[in-house]
Symmetry: C2
Subunit: 204 residues, 2 copies
């Protein structure tokens, strides 16, 4: 069924529905439901959402070290003195950092690539935060690099690219144990599987 144009009873409302509909996974019906929900909310609660969006666009930056999204640079993880400065875990995106932090089994640092090498989608090594990673490794204080890209074709290719680039260097390179279902996504793994995979990481 086509939704047809929205009647112009309220242009503000029509515009809100339109904006919500642009979000991933929000269809026209969901957009309407959400818009009406926002209208029925007390003003301060609805404005809290608007403000959170504005604030994210104003405040969120890349951490100068790990490239994770943060409000302050270096980020709170990089600044934490108790973390093992000799380990860096490379992940595709910030959600992966959250997923790993939830397992409480890793106390090293991270490096967020913000994507994977994917020629089909026009993403090359230069579009990722790989240069920053190699620069961090130049400093020489890193003993282990845990590659935690997703167990997908692109994730493996990115892992391979990093390993090749570091060939002959005195750094221990590991990857997460293949307890993860191949073709799956790290972000959606349950904590237990993720913990097992982390603990069983293997020499490359």
């Amino acid at each position: 069924m086509s939704m047809g144009p929205l009647p112009a009873a309220s242009p503000s409302l029509a515009r809100l529905v339109q904006e919500l509909h642009k979000l991933p996974g929000i269809g026209p019906k969901s957009a309407q439901r959400l818009a009406y929900h926002l209208i029925r909310l007390p003003e301060d609660e609805a404005l809290a959402l608007a403000d959170a969006i504005t604030s994210v666009k104003r405040n969120v930056i890349f951490c100068q070290d790990c490239q994770n999204l943060t409000d302050i640079s270096p980020c709170s993880i990089c600044q934490e003195p108790r973390r093992n400065q000799g380990q860096i875990c490379v992940v595709e995106d910030p959600l992966d950092v959250m997923a790993l932090e939830r397992t409480h089994c890793y106390d090293g640092l991270y490096h967020v690539l913000h994507g994977v090498i994917s020629p089909l989608n026009g993403v090359t090594a230069h579009d990722l935060k790989l240069g920053d990673l190699f620069k961090r490794l130049e400093a020489g204080s890193v003993e282990e690099l845990v590659i935690a890209t997703n167990p997908t074709l692109e994730g493996e290719a990115t892992s391979m690219y990093i390993r090749r680039h570091l060939e002959g260097r005195d750094i221990r390179i590991t990857h997460l144990a293949r307890g993860l279902p191949v073709g799956g996504s790290l972000e959606y793994s349950d904590d237990q599987t993720l913990r097992r995979a982390f603990q069983g990481r293997q020499e490359l």
Copy 2:
């Protein structure tokens, strides 16, 4: 699986995820996905959503006549001179007005109740826009009241309440036909729908 607290790498981000998670039908994972989507959007597109929310809270009011949500009162439907002023269609909420307008088969006015009588949820007749409806009918120019509440227990109860209140008044009261949904199948209809369809069978 518990999501656990979000790491405080970015309080702005954590707050946005939290605000999005409050929306109906948006779970913790969806809230994260949406938040990262908003972060990746160009600034003007993300702010367009924030602005649409703010604007809706500032501009949307109830139409003084039909109680629909609108930016101007009376709303554009009530102001349209070509519409039949002798018909009022009573609906539960603004989405129902949109649904009926899309059918292009009704050119009268509307009245939005903003809910249904539902004692279990603590909603009484006084919480709805029923007083405004009865006041509109006092004027005497309305010939037909089409009750288009949902065919649910609460919808029927609300319809019954309106009919009782208008007993003895010279107004034609109708409701939407009950029957088989177009494209539906007789075999899978529930007994109640089939009974109504049979009782309301029409001359071919």
